[in-house]
Symmetry: D2
Subunit: 301 residues, 4 copies
């Protein structure tokens, strides 16, 4: 089965509610729908185009109306999930990596989130150190066309130097359903795969390449034009079933000019800004459990 291009594991199963080798769990907390997809077998990984591992999705449609309470609720849940995955245990820092290109709005979520993340590693030996602080450092490595350096080269050389406990990557994603743009967060323990994300990474950032745990947090900011066209065709032709015909169609469209086009909401600049605030809020809560929000805010300005 060939799928529309999506970076969300929950979408890669299509309309199927179960899939051999995959565990799916769904639940709600307040206005937030959560779903966990655990890919257990290599066959399932192959079929879904995603490596084995756990993918947690938090979805909250009121975020699209810029509801500040939805943002706080999501940041809290995200903080809880991240602190569960990062299980603090020693003094080594967490390295937060903001993937993507500052100069391309829908690809700028990572760098924008880095700007709002509290870094503390440099303060821990200083007079400003507090015993409550955990060590955090952060970079936005830029993209290959801007630096001439592969992201993985940069992160690899830094992990060799800084010996972080884990790497936490933030990235802009492509979704299949436009309704998920800007209101869905995916957290996974599988790192970053080649060809994923809006900026399309060439080489993986994973435990294999970096030697430490790699957690990925992403928000869909685009859908691909070929995906949109395919889904519109399915909708209009009343022909949702002929998966194979649709997929060959999509491949054909990708060969045209459409392959370079992305589809976003008009207010994508505001969406990226709000989601960066949400993601950084969740990260700050997870990484600095001993600091109040007001202490974090004062240190950030």
């Amino acid at each position: 089965m060939i799928q529309s291009r999506t970076d969300l594991a929950m979408e890669s199963m299509g309309t199927d509610s179960s899939f051999p080798g995959v565990d799916v769990r769904r639940w709600e907390e307040g206005d937030v729908q959560l779903s966990e997809v655990v890919i257990r077998t290599e066959e399932a990984a192959q079929a879904l185009g995603k490596p084995c591992g756990s993918y947690l999705t938090l979805e909250c449609r009121p975020l699209r109306e810029h509801d500040p309470e939805a943002r706080i609720a999501m940041a809290n849940l995200l903080g809880e999930e991240l602190s569960r995955m990062l299980k603090p245990s020693d003094e080594a820092p967490i390295l937060v990596v903001g993937l993507g290109n500052r100069g391309v709005t829908p690809d700028s979520l990572g760098p924008a989130a880095i700007d709002r993340t509290l870094v503390t590693r440099h303060m821990l030996q200083s007079e400003y150190a507090s015993p409550n602080m955990h060590s955090v450092c952060a970079i936005a490595p830029g993209v290959l066309g801007v630096t001439g350096i592969e992201t993985v080269e940069m992160v690899e050389s830094l992990t060799g130097k800084l010996h972080p406990r884990a790497v936490l990557c933030i990235d802009s994603l492509a979704a299949r359903d436009s309704g998920r743009i800007g209101c869905t967060v995916q957290i996974s323990n599988t790192g970053i795969q080649p060809g994923s994300g809006v900026g399309n990474h060439r080489r993986p950032l994973t435990r294999e390449t970096l030697g430490v745990d790699v957690i990925a947090v992403g928000v869909p900011t685009v859908i691909y034009a070929a995906t949109l066209a395919r889904d519109a065709f399915a909708l209009l032709s009343g022909d949702g079933g002929h998966e194979e015909a649709l997929s060959s169609m999509e491949r054909e469209l990708l060969g045209t000019d459409l392959g370079n086009l992305i589809v976003t909401p008009r207010d994508i600049d505001a969406i990226v800004k709000n989601c960066a605030t949400l993601i950084a809020g969740g990260i700050n809560r997870a990484l600095q459990p001993n600091l109040t929000e007001s202490e974090i805010a004062a240190m950030m300005d």
Copy 2:
């Protein structure tokens, strides 16, 4: 006949090479394809969804590869056409208006072009005045949601105060063919219509509302998702002919979430920057025929 949404007059005729009440002329200069569409009758205006008047299109595909020579060639042609339309005759200033929203990349062409336009009105009574300078002033009025003021209210009140010889509006447009994004410039003498542009103006900026000639210069930066879906459907279904079925389909799509989605190339930030430089270059040449490029550059920094 109902058409896909496009702000380009040359696209609104669809595949028809002639149309009753419309004169069309096409020619080339170097790498630039020019076409002039003159809508002469109210019936044609109605059918094409564009008011009577002249629409000149300059198209140069190498612009999309960021070819600097293509940019210079286009700026030169644009300068010639604008100086023909603005026929300088007295001391009154030209008011250049950069429409659109700085915070929404594909809608920011107008404000970005304003930043690169040489303004001189304030220097003409000063010691820096040169007898070679023509009077130019410029504003980026912002959008209704940011100011609470309709663009037409702002421009109308300024024209009442400054008595410009003409108003020159710059705007981001929607096209039908994605291949025209970022490499096509449309100049028209009909001003700005309600519902046109990426930011969708509510009220017209025309000779009727402002009392002076209104020239509009625009570059397509988006296509609408519904247009894309429609065209993909036509392509895939091998069914280019059933215009009516396609149009009803497009209307249906506009009623879904798709109505808020726009389609752009990934490198839209760079496209807008380059096109703003091109447009401002053409305007500066047209409005300051007695200054060299190097004099203009020195005054701009």
Copy 3:
């Protein structure tokens, strides 16, 4: 008596605690020091280089350490004072004007505050209107060198069109004491004077020129290099008394290259951002007394 250049009325009295024709009152609320200077006579206005009227100063040094609670306390007090001065009485909008240049950091407070101000005028006739909303519109008119249009021309033409109940101007100021940069807000009912502000306005924005009340809100973001040199000289020479010698010295310095130099803290970008948030927060509270902060935040994003 000739004074160092300052836009703060409270500083223009120098070290004198009283001055003929001027009423001064000082008090505290929490961490905020308030002082009100009322200039009552033309002689005093002449001597202090400020027109007759009331100048209220709020000062809170912890703001410089980016204390978020200080910011909230200041925004609350500012909101109270502004709502007292603007006495809502009818349906006409308030026009908020962000003076200064976005491209010059210490002069960008006004435009940055406008970006954070809730505008509502355009919603009041729409389906989104709430009976709780007051009418507010806002512009950042830019500076003469960028638009070729005097700020007063732009505001005058808009007030003629929109008939606002009052104009509220936000501007970056010059102080004499560097300790006041970024932690002091001045509110006055005298409008904006020529030669004041960091951007040095040429013509006044006052009740006389605009025909409606003009309230000015400003924060010092710079001191002038000549002022600094003068004060350093007084400090170092142990010679605070010879006012006349110092002033002639300062005039001399202004004739040198120093006249174009400004002195700011290194973190002026962060200071401007935080003060813009504070000022907009105070304005939103004053102008929308019936909306909660969370409702305002949701409408702003």
Copy 4:
């Protein structure tokens, strides 16, 4: 002898035209004044507060009037000097490092210059490779307070990974004479010292720490307020000679609030932008001798 704070070697000699252990040479090319200071002995290094090595200064006052021809002349000379110092000989890349903080205007020269530098390393194995291209990669590592990572840690880990032939650092400098801001470029072969630059680096970037040649290019964008006060005092007191008294004064001033203040021209945003274009222009000419300017421009957009 204690000196005012300056990062320019030519200023650190004060008004002395010769100094034991230091060779000084001055000459002109067109409108550009060049001076080369070579510090030969440890005693001279100690006395001047700069390590042994060569410091070349290019100065061109018309740059401050934003003269585009001055910019081209300076970029050409800079290109020649850099190509002399970098003596290309093998396939290893040059790593260009833009020091400083994007969010602090006078400290943002380095990152801004990186944005305008042509990077090619990633193209050399691709279909876009040209035999004429030399390998260049670039980073803007940010500042300690933003990343929690010392610049030297980041550059050291990257040089270990990429094995560049040389590191070329770009930084904002402090000068003593405000007339040199924005119109002077210093090139040195001594790398970056602790405490130098506007952002005040903590640890050196030198051949010793990085294992490869480190060339530093800088432009003064600020003077320190204490330096200004000291020089103003010397000027005003007609007492240029008592160096010791002045220096103790300056130290005293540094202990006050003045220590955090910087002095810049009002148009520092434009100065940084223009100087970044100049520096990147010189670097691109030096590092890509086989490409024309128009080829470089086309690859940059």
